[in-house]
Every structure is written in structure tokens, then in C-alpha cells.
Symmetry: C3
Subunit: 215 residues, 3 copies
């Protein structure tokens, strides 16, 4: 039964999920600090960034109840991580590379989790990939909207591309009935590698530059 | 049975819907190009703009599953249209008037479709009109928010007004049990004419200009 | 039975709710006027600001149908209040303090109503407090996003803090099975007082100011 999610896989994915939401909340807190938000704003931006992608996915797919409604301690964890960031921010530039790594891990973990939600609901392949991408990317989009900047996602180094590719690899592997752990590991490692290489070498998707005034 | 939706009406509305989402995705792609978004951003902004109004409507009305979850090829169609725009953008200024026309067609088609969804759910008249307006207008609002500009909707030539008027005509005609096709045709032609006249002659709603500082 | 909501409490809460959504719609209209929105934009921003917090709460908690779908006259009331503001705006600076008071009343009333929704759904304490805060604060966040400014919430005088504190007092009082009216009154009076004192003396949460460039 190659599609079985073993308890070990589930536990690993969950641990990575917890690490990823903490990392997302902490980088969101830094974005809040650049906007000179108050402590309540920092905590809220942390929650929205870390849990917003999954929430938007569940609202769009009608997958109630939402994760943080069932597991409210995720709210406390992400708000706490964001507030903790205020105390440790001065040391965080030394950890810049670790946070970029954790952010990239979060991207692929969120993507796989989002794909799994849609697969469990029996949705078609295109929606599974979209579900992964929404889970992986929308938290950061909400963060940027609340900070009043154009979402980084639309311009950053392969961020959305990595999510789509990870999701595609994962869903194709599962449809081909390869071993679930191998498929999941491969999709995540390939996605993670591409993201890290893109960060290292400044790879990015071609940009579309348009100067007309149709609208 | 004047309320019957004939297969012909449904097929016409569906064809106009497909044309409209393609046109919305293509104009969204141009907006993305002005912000120098990358290709993934262009594709996503196309999907969100074309399908966002209907998605927000369905989420607010609890009308699951969403259109693109049931018909995932809408995602491929709008993403594809947005990406195609990158190749043909240089010729699009010549087609400016066609796009403004298609955008206006989209506005009234989305409005009628949105009204129909609420009518089928048995919702009260005010909500039917609101449902039409959300379907017609929110996609553009999401596009403008993601591009970090004040939504055009709140200032553009009669855009929201046309949607409200189209919805009102349609719902009143249906409540009066006039022939469905006549009602739908009249509402859409009146709405479309008003929008095109507003574009041609620069008509707009009065603006509210306030210089105080209450907030 | 200390948890009983008496008809009197419910009627008072409902009256305060109506006053609050009118006040929220009117202050939103002034914000629209500063952005020189047209009349349709003013009406919509009024509706979204006054009813958006409750709508987002209900969408996130899966609490269908939404308030304004069941009671569509809320849409007419808030749109009407926003449009009326255009006529009376020139006199409103004299009423500045009244509006700040009504806005503060709205904050605590929305918070208590939001807590009640989550309590009735049997949700855990953390989610009850979050539900109160979303109901109290998100309308203003949507207004600021649509006006293309960084949400005031993240920087304003104790706004979110007041909502969290009101919600905490209310839920703790209810869990301790104190008399419902006393609990509700206490939570609202304490929250209201804190907000008014914060406005009067310029109290605010500490801000987190970060100048690094991790992201």
C-alpha cells in the first residue's frame, strides 16, 4: 500500500510544520519591526503569516474546522515566537542564513501539507497543486499586504515556482503509486535545493515589464 | 414557466463567462507587467483577478465547492491567458478598445451569474444584488490590492454603479416574472451601454472629498 | 443558571451593535472621503468596515450563514449611514469626541459578540478570544487595506489590546460562572475605560523598531 501515510512520516511532517510556523512567525515579526508596529501588531502579524496560508486554503476548499481552531495552541506558539523575536532581534542578523533555510523548509513543508489536504478531499490534480501553492505562499502575501508592500512572492527568487514544482513532483509521484516516503522526500529535497540554489545564485523567473497604459 | 433557464441561455452565459475570464486575466497580466512581476506572479494575478470575485462570493455565501475547484481547467485557462499576454503585450495597445469592451462585458456577465447563484440559494433581494456586485467587482479589487494601489473600483467610471444597476434590473425583472431571457438580455445590455457611455464621455459618480482629520 | 442570556441582555447588545455599525460606517466614509472615493466607493467601504470583522470571523469559523446574509438590512443601514455622512461631514469635526466614543463602544461590543459566537459553537478559550478580537478589529484592518495604508490597528492606542483584554475578562468571568450580565458589563466597561484613557493620555503599547534587513 504505497499511499499509506506511516505514523513516522506524519510525525516528521508535523515536526517540520511546527519548526516552519515558528520560523515564519519570527521573520514576520522582523517585518513588523521595520514598520514600527506595536507588540500586539507583532503578535498578530506573526499568527497571520504563519497560519494564514493554511487558513485561506481551508476556507477556499471548504475544509472546516481550520487548523488553529482545532489546535488553538498554534496561535499561542506563533504569537509567542513573534513576541520572543522582539527580545532576540538584535542577534538575528547572525542567524540570517538559518532563517532563510527555515523559510525554505517551511515553503516545501507547507506545500506538501497543502497537497495532502486536497488529496484527502479527493480533489483533481490541478487543485491539489493549487492547494499546495496557496498553503506555501499565501501567508507571506498576507504579511506583505498588511505591511502595505507589493507581495514579494510576485517578484522573489523562484518562491512560487518552487512551490508549484514541489507540488507537481509530489502529486505525480503519488499518482504513479511510488512509495509515499520516497515521493515526499524527493519532492521536498528537490524543492528545497532549487530554492536554496536560487537564493545563493540570485536565480529568478523572467520578469514581465510592461510600460503601456491599457488600464 | 418564465423563470426557467433554457439550455441556450445557460450556454450563452457560459460562453460569455469564458470570454470574460480570459479578458480579465489578460488585463490583470498587463497590470502585473507594470509592477514588473515575474512570470509566476503574472499567472497568479491573472487567476486571482479572473476568478477572485466568484470565489469571494462563494466563500461569503457558503456556496461550496468553489467554481475553480469543480472546474480546475478555469485555473489553467486564466493562468495560460495571463502568460500568453506576455508574448502579445506589445500589440495590445492596438486592441485597447476591444479589451475595455470585453472588460465591460465581463462586468455585466459576472454580475448576472452572481445574482443567479444567490437566487438559486433562495437569498433575499438585497443579498442577490450584493452577490452580483461582489462577483462583478471584487476580482479587480483583489488585483489592485495585490498591486498595492487603491482599488480603482472606488473611483472608476460607474464601475460599481453599473454592476448594482444591472443586478437590480435583473432581479426586479425576475421577481416580476418577465421572460427570463428578455430580463437577462435587457439587464446586460443596459448595464453594458451605461458602462461604455461612461467610458466614452468620462461619466463618473460624484466624489466625496473630505479634508478633516477625524480619524 | 448564570450562563443564560436574558432577552434584556440580548436586546441591549443588539442595540449597541446597531449603533456601533452605524458609527463604524460613518467613520469609514470619512476615510473614503480623504481618498476622494466616489459615492459607490463610500457606501461599499462603509459596509465592509462595519460588517467585515464579523464576516471574516464567520468565514474562518465556518459559521454560515453570515449575519448580513440573514439580515440584509444591515447592508442598507451601513451603506445608508456612509452615504449620509457625505451630507453631514462638514459638521462632524464638532462631533469628533462622540465618534471616538462610539468607535470605542463598537470595539468592545463587537468583541463580546464575537466571543459569544465562538462560545455558542463550543470552541476553546483561545479561539473565543481570537474570535472576539477578529470581530472587533478586522473591519478597521480591511478599511485600511482598501485605503492602501498600513492598518492603524497595528500601531493605534491599545486598540487590539483592549479587544483581547475585554475578551479575556468576558470568557474568564463566564467560565467562573459569574452572573452573565455582570460579566458582560464589567468586561465592556473595563475595556471601554482603558480605550478612552488610552485615547485621552496617548497610551500605547511599546513599539518594536527593527532596522535590520533579514528579509
Amino acid at each position: 500500500m504505497p499511499f499509506m501515510e506511516t505514523p513516522e512520516t506524519a510525525a516528521l511532517l508535523h515536526t517540520l510544520f511546527l519548526i516552519a510556523i515558528v520560523a515564519e512567525a519570527m521573520t514576520a515579526a522582523l517585518a513588523a519591526g521595520k514598520r514600527e508596529m506595536d507588540w500586539a501588531g507583532v503578535a498578530m502579524l506573526g499568527c497571520v503569516t504563519a497560519l494564514g496560508g493554511g487558513s485561506v486554503r481551508d476556507v477556499l476548499l471548504g475544509n472546516q474546522p481550520l487548523t488553529w481552531v482545532e489546535h488553538p495552541y498554534y496561535l499561542l506558539l506563533t504569537a509567542g515566537a513573534a513576541l520572543l523575536t522582539i527580545a532576540v532581534a538584535q542577534y538575528m542578523h547572525k542567524l540570517r542564513n538559518i532563517f532563510l533555510l527555515l523559510d525554505a523548509v517551511g515553503l516545501v513543508v507547507f506545500t506538501v501539507i497543502g497537497c495532502n489536504v486536497a488529496i484527502r478531499m479527493g480533489l483533481p490534480t490541478v487543485v491539489v497543486v493549487a492547494s499546495g501553492m496557496i498553503t506555501g505562499c499565501v501567508g507571506g502575501v498576507l504579511r506583505d499586504i498588511l505591511c502595505n508592500s507589493i507581495p514579494l512572492l510576485f517578484r522573489a527568487e523562484l518562491y512560487a515556482t518552487v512551490s508549484i514544482l514541489t507540488g507537481l513532483l509530489y502529486i505525480v509521484g503519488r499518482r504513479l503509486e511510488f512509495d509515499h516516503q520516497v515521493v515526499m522526500g524527493t519532492a521536498m529535497v528537490v524543492g528545497l535545493s532549487l530554492r536554496l540554489l536560487a537564493l545563493r545564485y540570485g536565480w529568478s523567473m523572467p520578469k514581465f515589464v510592461y510600460g503601456g497604459n491599457i488600464h
